[in-house]
């Protein structure tokens, strides 16, 4: 195992080669906001919240998919980065239909948390109010596309941990959406094992347990981490 040394926010950090800047920053106790990152599954750099500056590289890079390198000089927080992050969150809010007040995930939502973190007290972008649907054909779960931010955590958790690959992304641009099976009603998809990992993975109130009322959704994020750890490190208790 080789180790590289780098600077994050002028602090010297040592990290295992092959790790991401996000991992290295976290180990050093530096917080970078994320939404599409989920411990235990691969990273895709979809949400752009973890964008960082690296000296000598003329563009911003997502920390979750950027590997550490010897001598790297990383800055995670500047007024400009903070402003970009806030804009990103505002765009997420204006892109979908996020009505926090009546959402099952109110008080327990990573999008809401990250909005607080970046200091968003309103959105400067005009809301799109897209027409999107709700599918509660599954006996236990439902998906409300209004609240989906296309982080694809459900897609990855179902594929990489459960191995069922029920979820996918279809369409492009504004029409992009997560789908179940071959764009069938979720209740019709035989491949679904009803394990509920996608519910635990979803950062917003998009995927929920049926019967949840406003602010009632709770998730067991620890379960996903535990499963990954159990498999990788043979630790079967938690």
């Amino acid at each position: 195992m080789s180790v590289v040394t780098l600077k994050i926010n002028d602090i010297d950090v040592a990290a295992e080669a092959g790790k991401t800047v996000l991992d290295a920053a976290r180990e050093a106790g530096i917080r970078i906001p994320t939404l599409c990152h989920l411990d235990g599954v691969s990273d895709v750099g979809a949400c752009r919240l973890c964008l960082i500056e690296i000296k000598g590289i003329p563009k911003l890079l997502p920390a979750c998919v950027t590997e550490v390198a010897e001598g790297m000089d990383v800055t995670t927080h500047t007024p400009q980065l903070d402003e970009y992050r806030r804009m990103t969150v505002e765009m997420l809010f204006s892109e979908g239909n996020h009505v926090c007040a009546v959402c099952v995930a109110n008080e327990n939502c990573e999008l809401q948390d990250v909005a607080i973190e970046v200091g968003m007290d309103h959105s400067r972008f005009t809301y799109r109010f897209p027409e999107r649907g709700v599918d509660i054909s599954h006996p236990q779960f439902g998906i409300d596309h209004n609240r989906c931010i296309l982080c694809t955590r459900c897609v990855r958790v179902c594929d990489e941990i459960e191995g069922a690959h029920v979820w996918d992304v279809a369409g492009r641009g504004a029409a992009a959406k997560v789908i179940t099976g071959l764009n069938q009603p979720w209740g019709d998809v035989d491949a679904c094992t009803a394990c509920g990992k996608c519910v635990d993975a979803c950062p917003t109130g998009s995927i929920f347990r049926k019967g949840s009322t406003a602010s009632e959704l709770d998730r067991d994020r620890g379960k996903l981490e535990f499963l990954v750890k159990a498999r990788e490190e043979n630790q079967w208790t938690r």
């Binding site: 007040a101 009546v102 709700v134 509660i136 054909s137 439902g142 049926k210 009322t213």
Partner: protein, 476 residues
């Protein structure tokens, strides 16, 4: 020449409204109309939402009585799940409704209407409000504010939020009361009772003296009255069945079920208001005018069911000169009496161990595709009616809101008051304030009734040393 006076906006009510007063050539009042000018359209945009979210969404119809919508939505959900709510769940829901009636009635009396009674109809409009009351009678204002706080805090203790607590759910409630919460309620009850007894005494005194004439002017007419009553005819705010009585107190219809509301209620539309005009269907429109709310509940029931409130009801009926009080002005009296009844009921509740029981929610899947739920909001009977698909997605919603059912009566009340006071084109500010007070009788909640959000700016001006009083302007 005939002309129209428009009062815009009607103030010290919840929501946006106007009143038109039509004067004839002689400058007397031909007619008056009450216009509600906001509309949101909940009935349409709730379509496609999961049924379980309806309580949370419809609670957003209104900031004063979200609990009413919460309960009506939850009760509609009970029917769709086809479950019986556990006893603890029902008692907890009832407790929250009692608390809400207390806070809402207190707001209506102390914050909105009492400035007219205590400062005077013709007093300075810049001061004729809750802040003026705080200046003129700080003890009474503080007691009123604290009584409302009592109701609001009980709601918060149950639902963890004062306004818009999404705590009542299809099947019951999410959580019971805590031991500490119960103790807080016990500790605060004596003060609350003291306040309402004082207010009730004060209002009766006013009725004997300065407000004597108002009874016959502020909406004195015959109509039907509708509300829920318990199976044995006792005052009810949550369950029971629907009863109609006439102005003499004769029962017109009894034992009606909310599921059948379309048999006895219908809603007319007039082009000059976003508020529809519900009426008692067998008598047609507009003859089927009926009133709902505190006055109706007192007129409809046989007894209150608690000793002090029953004694007060007897006095109330004596003063009204019969079984039914027919003046809309008596709504204020009825409201105070109901607050006493609610406090008395809470006093009886606080020793019930069920309030702490966690067996308060029944769970089930979608078992019925249609449900109608009803509850008594502070302002009157509230109906929710949902149709859902096999999975529980809302297909159709109909809401009949308490305030709307008083629409015909509100129009009749403002016309009566305008005709009494306004002659020879003399539209003095104090007269117009009395016309508005005709609306305040009903404590309407217009956000609810048109399912509209009132855009309600609240404006603060910092004190300037030479501040001038701003004139009240009415548009002609």
């Amino acid at each position: 020449m005939s002309k129209t006076v428009v009062i815009d906006p009607v103030t010290r009510i919840e929501g946006h409204a106007k009143i038109s007063i039509f004067l004839n050539d002689a400058g007397d009042v031909d007619d008056a109309r009450f216009h509600v000018v906001e509309f949101r359209g909940f009935e349409k945009f709730c379509e496609g939402r999961p049924m379980f979210e309806m309580a949370g969404i419809t609670a957003r119809i209104c900031g004063i009585c979200p609990v009413s919508h919460l309960l009506a939505a939850a009760k509609t959900g009970d029917k769709i799940l086809a479950v019986q709510v556990p006893p603890a769940g029902e008692k907890l829901r009832r407790l929250m409704n009692l608390a809400q009636i207390i806070q809402s009635h207190t707001l209506s009396f102390f914050h909105l209407s009492s400035p007219d009674f205590l400062l005077g109809w013709d007093s300075d409009p810049a001061k004729r409000n809750v802040f003026g009351l705080m200046e003129a009678n700080p003890d009474l204002a503080r007691a009123g504010i604290r009584l409302r706080q009592f109701g609001q805090t009980v709601i918060e203790l149950l639902g963890a939020k004062k306004i818009h607590a999404a705590w009542a759910v299809p099947g019951g409630v999410r959580s019971p009361l805590s031991e500490e919460g119960l103790q807080w309620i016990r500790d605060r009850l004596p003060e609350s009772r003291q306040t309402i007894e004082t207010a009730l005494g004060l209002f009766k005194q006013l009725l004997d003296n300065t407000l004597k004439d108002e009874i016959d002017i502020f909406g004195q007419f015959d109509s039907l009255f509708m509300s829920l009553v318990a199976p044995d005819g006792t005052w009810e705010h949550y369950g029971g069945h629907i009863r109609f009585v006439d102005s003499q107190g004769n029962i017109v219809a009894d034992g009606l079920r909310e599921e059948d509301y379309q048999d006895f209620l219908d809603e007319a539309v007039e082009p000059w208001s976003y508020l529809k005009f519900p009426y008692y269907k067998p008598m047609g429109y507009p003859d089927g005018m009926y009133r709902v709310g505190p006055l109706a509940r007192l007129n409809v029931c046989d007894r209150m069911g608690t000793p002090d409130a029953d004694r007060e009801l007897q006095e109330f009926r004596q003063r009204a000169g019969g079984r039914c009080a027919t003046s809309s002005f008596m709504y204020h009296y009825a409201r105070l009496l109901e607050v006493l009844a609610c406090i008395e009921r809470i006093e009886q509740y606080v020793d019930d161990p069920d309030l702490l029981s966690s067996r308060c929610r029944a769970k089930a899947e979608i078992n019925n595709l249609e449900g109608v739920g009803v509850s008594e909001a502070p302002r009157g009977t509230l109906f929710h009616h949902y149709n859902v698909d096999e999975n529980g997605l809302i297909e159709k919603v109909n809401l009949i809101i308490a305030t709307g059912q008083n629409n015909l009566a509100m129009n009749k009340t403002v016309t009566q008051i305008a005709q009494h006071y306004i002659h020879n084109n003399d539209v003095a500010e104090g007269f117009l304030n009395r016309v508005e007070a005709g609306i305040r009788n009903f404590d309407p909640c217009l956000s609810c009734s048109t399912h509209a959000v009132g855009q309600m700016p609240l404006h603060i001006e910092l004190l300037a040393p030479d501040k001038t009083v701003i004139n009240t302007i009415y548009r002609d």
